[in-house]
């Protein structure tokens, strides 16, 4: 007797089934390296192809890759260390707004 649940009892949508590997450990573990390699690779294109831009400083090799990385980290840290630390409050701070919609 198979322990595999029948399709009828399976709560996973049939369309989602082929994509369950998105949750696998190997995928999540390797994703950061793949993305890092892609970002560096795209930045490296600028060393072999001079990219023209409206502003001179934006023509620096890898400028946009560094800007994207830096801006993202700045946004997250700013949100975390400034907004949440100083402006974060309990969910029921505003009367009657704590519950789900």
């Amino acid at each position: 007797m198979s322990l595999k649940p029948s399709k009828k009892d399976d709560p996973v949508h049939p369309i989602a089934r082929p994509f369950l590997w998105l949750e696998s450990k190997w995928f999540t573990a390797s994703l950061v390296w793949v993305l890092g390699a892609l970002a560096i690779g795209l930045g490296a294109i600028d060393f072999v192809h001079h990219r023209h831009d409206y502003l001179e400083f934006a023509q620096m090799p890898g400028f946009y890759a560094l800007a994207g990385f830096g801006a993202f980290v700045l946004a997250v840290m700013g949100g975390w260390f400034v907004i949440r630390r100083f402006l974060g409050r309990e969910e029921n701070y505003w009367d009657g707004e704590a519950g789900d919609e």
């Binding site: 989602a16 950061v32 970002a39 700013g78 975390w80 409050r89 704590a98």
Partner: protein
């Protein structure tokens, strides 16, 4: 070659009217099926009217000594009216499953009101439709029928009616100064212009005037939020473009609008509120474009508004579907929903990639026009702010929304996929996001200034944009890997609305209390004083008083004596 006969029936009829009348009929029709037919048919009729129009001014009405232009159809109103009609249709389709007469009626009247405002050729007509959108849209918030929505709706209504009042007063002053009620370039040279600027700024969600948006939108109904996201702010962008293009202060106002919501959205738990901050962020790009005022910048603003209505609507639709099925859009309660709502997840990812401006998606060909115009104008600090905001929007709308709702930590919730009509609306919106990103010439053909067309698909632009996006996505993966990404938790973050919701409310209560106490204290003091003076006078002048023992009683005698004494003193000291 003549126009099709059917088309002639609709020539010179404002596309606003079929939608407004559809809404008025929906308000009185109890049958849900009839209302749903109206929700789809009215935008289709409006589309037919739009298709039948030729550039020009129609619908001129003399009323109360004013000349009202209700249908100014030119290169600017053409693109705005088309996207409003498309949005009205998508919203009607998205809301087919919902049996709520108030939402059906309000949604149509609101969309028609926004269309009417876009076609307004004078400030009186603009004011009337401006107020119609305010009054009709609040019912989309109140339809949620809970305490928080009721209070938020009241705040929303107060702020938007204020915007209308400022517009009217500003228009009167402006007309007094210029002798014209025409809704053309207004500028900030006069007090009237300044008031109109603030009126537009309220609906545009300028910094410090923005919190009505994050307050009200997440509290509206599932369908209501989607409808709200399309019209008010984009109508205001249109009005700003008409009245204040090239106004330099807008460059800096817009730049701030792009940046500050990023920080709030990062740590916001309610994903519909995250999208509301995202609305602010995208509006900022458009406001900057209006401030730059070049033909390329204004084209970019128009194109980005067009694209934004679709992709932002799509993102709100996907979160609405989650709310409809799961009952919450709190990121801390979600995760792993792609297993049960894979199509919704797919459409959400399309919306997320579009707002992030990936190549082949619409925002790639629209937002870059604004950035190019800013760079061409030499505003490099503003350009850097917009670049930061571009990475920021990837963070909160490109990654956070789909990741925390559909992937991330599996919440274990297993629900049904969204209703078919919701999927159809999302599918159409997603299709348009991709279509406009690839066949962008169709969008560019609608732009107001055909002498300033942009070439988005250059090797340099694609590489630069992909660098930015991949650099940011890598940062996300790295921060998650090392545990430096803030966890989602049930909380709220104070914003500027604290000033009027908590501080202002407390101040008003305190002032009221103080006035009450002062009034009581003043009353008591007056009573005491009167009692004291009166008592003393009584003791002195009453029939039983001191003076009555020696002096004839009666006030007349007293005063006569006093006056006599004064006269004698003056006479004595006179030269």
């Amino acid at each position: 070659m003549g126009r099709p006969a059917m088309s002639e029936l609709f020539t010179h009829i404002s596309p606003a009217w079929p939608i407004i009348f559809g809404g008025l009929i929906a308000a009185i029709v109890p049958n849900n099926n009839v209302r749903k037919v109206l929700a789809l048919l009215a935008p289709i009729l409006a589309g037919w009217c739009w298709y039948s129009l030729e550039l020009g001014t129609y619908g001129v009405v003399e009323f109360g000594g004013f000349t009202l232009e209700t249908l100014r159809y030119d290169a600017i109103s053409r693109i705005w009216s088309l996207i409003f009609i498309i949005a009205a249709f998508l919203n009607g389709l998205y809301g087919l499953h919902e049996k709520d007469r108030v939402t059906d009626a309000a949604g149509l009247i609101y969309a028609g009101g926004a269309l009417g405002a876009v076609f307004a050729g004078d400030l009186i007509t603009l004011f009337m439709f401006w107020e119609l959108t305010a009054i009709s849209s609040v019912f989309l918030i109140w339809s949620a029928r809970n305490k928080a929505a009721t209070k938020a709706g009241l705040r929303y209504l107060a702020i938007h009616v204020l915007s209308g009042v400022l517009l009217l007063v500003g228009a009167i002053i402006h007309a007094g100064e210029t002798g014209s009620w025409a809704f053309d370039h207004i500028g900030l040279d006069s007090p009237g212009g300044f008031l109109i600027f603030i009126a537009f700024g309220i609906k545009c969600a300028f910094p410090f005037l923005h919190n009505w948006l994050q307050d009200a939108y997440p509290k509206a109904t599932v369908v209501g939020t989607v409808i709200l996201s399309a019209f008010t702010t984009k109508m205001a962008i249109y009005a700003l473009l008409r009245g204040f293009s090239g106004e330099e202060s807008l460059i800096y106002i817009g730049a701030i609008m792009t940046v500050f919501p990023v920080f709030f959205a990062v740590v916001e738990n309610d994903l519909r509120k995250v999208l509301s901050y995202s609305v602010n962020n995208q509006l900022g790009f458009m406001v900057v474009g209006i401030g730059i005022g070049s033909n390329l910048a204004l084209n970019g603003t128009a194109a980005h508004a067009f694209a934004d209505i679709i992709f932002k609507g799509l993102l709100f639709m996907s979160m609405g579907a989650v709310l409809h099925r799961v009952g919450t859009t709190k990121a801390s309660e979600l995760g792993g929903l792609f297993k049960s709502m894979p199509l919704t997840a797919f459409f959400c990812i399309i919306g997320a990639m579009t707002i992030s401006a990936f190549p082949l998606f619409s925002a790639f060909v629209t937002k870059s026009m604004i950035l190019a115009a800013v760079a061409e104008d030499g505003h490099w600090v503003v350009w850097i702010m917009l670049l930061f905001a571009s990475a920021g929007v990837l963070e909160h709308s490109g990654i956070k929304i789909p990741y925390f709702a559909f992937f991330g930590h599996d919440s274990g919730r297993r629900v049904r996929e969204a209703p078919v009509n919701m999927l159809m609306a999302m599918g159409l919106a997603a299709l348009m996001c991709v279509y406009l990103g690839i066949n962008y010439g169709k969008l560019y053909d609608l732009l107001p200034f055909q002498d300033a067309i942009y070439a988005p698909y250059t090797f340099d632009h694609i590489v630069g944009q992909m660098q930015l996006l991949l650099g940011a996505i890598f940062a996300f993966a790295l921060l998650m890997r090392i545990g430096a990404y803030p966890s989602e938790k049930r909380s709220v973050n104070l914003d500027f609305d604290w000033v009027y919701r908590r501080f202002g409310d407390s101040l008003a209560r305190w002032v009221w209390l103080m006035l009450d106490r002062m009034s009581a204290a003043a009353g008591n003091a007056w009573d005491r004083a009167m009692r004291g003076i009166g008592g003393r006078l009584y003791q002195v002048f009453s029939p039983m008083g001191t003076l009555s023992r020696d002096i004839p009683s009666g006030m007349l005698a007293i005063w006569t004596s006093a006056l006599l004494a004064i006269v004698l003193i003056i006479a004595y000291f006179s030269p």
